[in-house]
Subunit: 246 residues, 2 copies
């Protein structure tokens, strides 16, 4: 499985993805699920993927192929709005899934993929969009400025509790990492290395960090998170009958 | 939906259940999902339920009917081991589901139920068992001394992180409540009032607490939990390139 998320804040965007892939419980491996495209100086895209690994790789290859092909076709370099980029990727994703549907469904497999697309095209605001396997999309909202794909449940309450548009990008990165390590703790199919990317509005440049397995930073992150979470539990009020009256 | 959990600790057992029920997004209501049976002085059972509300009510009615009927049949008063009680409830649960399967599947509904059974029968150790819709069961293990049914994902990482057999019952109750409010925060189908029950080994008595909507205790619980969780996020180490080397 997979866990990817994106936050849309007043200062910019935060992306975080795990890298664990598996076929059932077998063939556990590490693949990058976060990809950055900068096909022209006036635009930057971050694409996160969940679902069929084969499907997402073919979608990425098709995007690159379109960018390299002679002009006249729609590509990430020609779209003028982020929602057009989402529809473009959604169309390719559907085409790839359709191409393999009969063969895959014959063995009970699902070749579809879900994406989060974020970034900015000059003239528009930075944004994040979730692209469904059917090719349609939704945005993050101002009230709920995050999107998730893959194993979304384990780390959701942290985003609900902590993510608000006005927080700074550094804090937002920490919230994203808290959500990720909570998920990895509860679900074997999500794991490090983690890819973190931070986009500051109107910069058209991305700060990328890979947090590797066995790094001092990851160990410290998990340790501090564990200690403070246990501390939070300890601070909860005692359950006593006299407190429970409505 | 539902969220119920049970912890099996050195000192005793902790049970926690929400009370929200719904049919789709409609007909949201409040029903008790935790039930205590004490059919003889040498035994005490706590039963938590998830799944079809109609199904679980009929199972409870069948259990009571068997207890009230003349002797000669298996009941919660006649079983001599907790696993026999689990198999007994599993059999009734399957019979109830079978009785309604054709009518329910005709409208695309599922009438099956999942239970957590906990308690003690004199001569045996206190234990908790998860009863599947198929009628078989698993116990909590010493390494993973908790069971969950219903919306289990949202609050799982907290149990993974914090529950260990040697902790005291008071702390265990707080961990259970943390897991519950994290779930209710992320999922509308889980909500208060919450029923908390604590069983001390060899007592054959249960301490029950209902934590109502709008109670001062619940407000304080959610406030303290939120503050300390945000504090934990703030304490996480900064993401800096130099920290990220493996």
């Amino acid at each position: 499985m997979t866990y990817c998320l994106a936050l849309r804040l007043d200062e910019g965007l935060v992306f975080l993805a795990d890298t664990r892939t598996n076929a059932g419980v077998d063939n556990v491996s590490t693949y990058r699920k976060m990809h950055v495209f900068r096909p022209a100086p006036d635009r930057l895209f971050v694409l996160e993927s969940a679902g069929s690994l084969a499907g997402t790789q073919q979608v990425l290859d098709r995007i690159e192929q379109d960018l390299a092909s002679p002009s006249g076709i729609e590509t990430l370099a020609t779209v003028t709005q982020l929602f057009e980029a989402a529809l473009y990727i959604g169309r390719i994703s559907r085409e790839v899934a359709d191409q393999h549907r009969i063969a895959l469904s014959a063995v009970g497999a699902d070749g579809s993929s879900t994406f989060i697309l974020g970034g900015q095209i000059q003239g528009g605001r930075p944004d994040t969009l979730l692209i469904y396997p059917e090719g349609n999309y939704i945005r993050a909202s101002d009230e709920r400025p995050f999107l998730q794909i893959g194993e979304t449940k384990y780390g959701k309450f942290l985003l609900e509790l902590a993510v608000a548009a006005p927080i700074d990008l550094e804090t937002a990165g920490k919230i994203a990492l808290s959500s990720m390590i909570s998920t990895a703790h509860a679900n074997l199919s999500v794991g490090p290395p983690y890819d973190l990317a931070i986009y500051r509005n109107d910069s058209y440049e991305i700060q990328e960090h890979r947090i590797p397995i066995g790094s001092e930073y990851l160990a410290r992150l998990e340790e501090v998170w564990g200690i403070h979470l246990l501390g939070a539990i300890g601070e909860l009020p005692h359950v006593q009958d006299r407190d429970l009256d409505p």
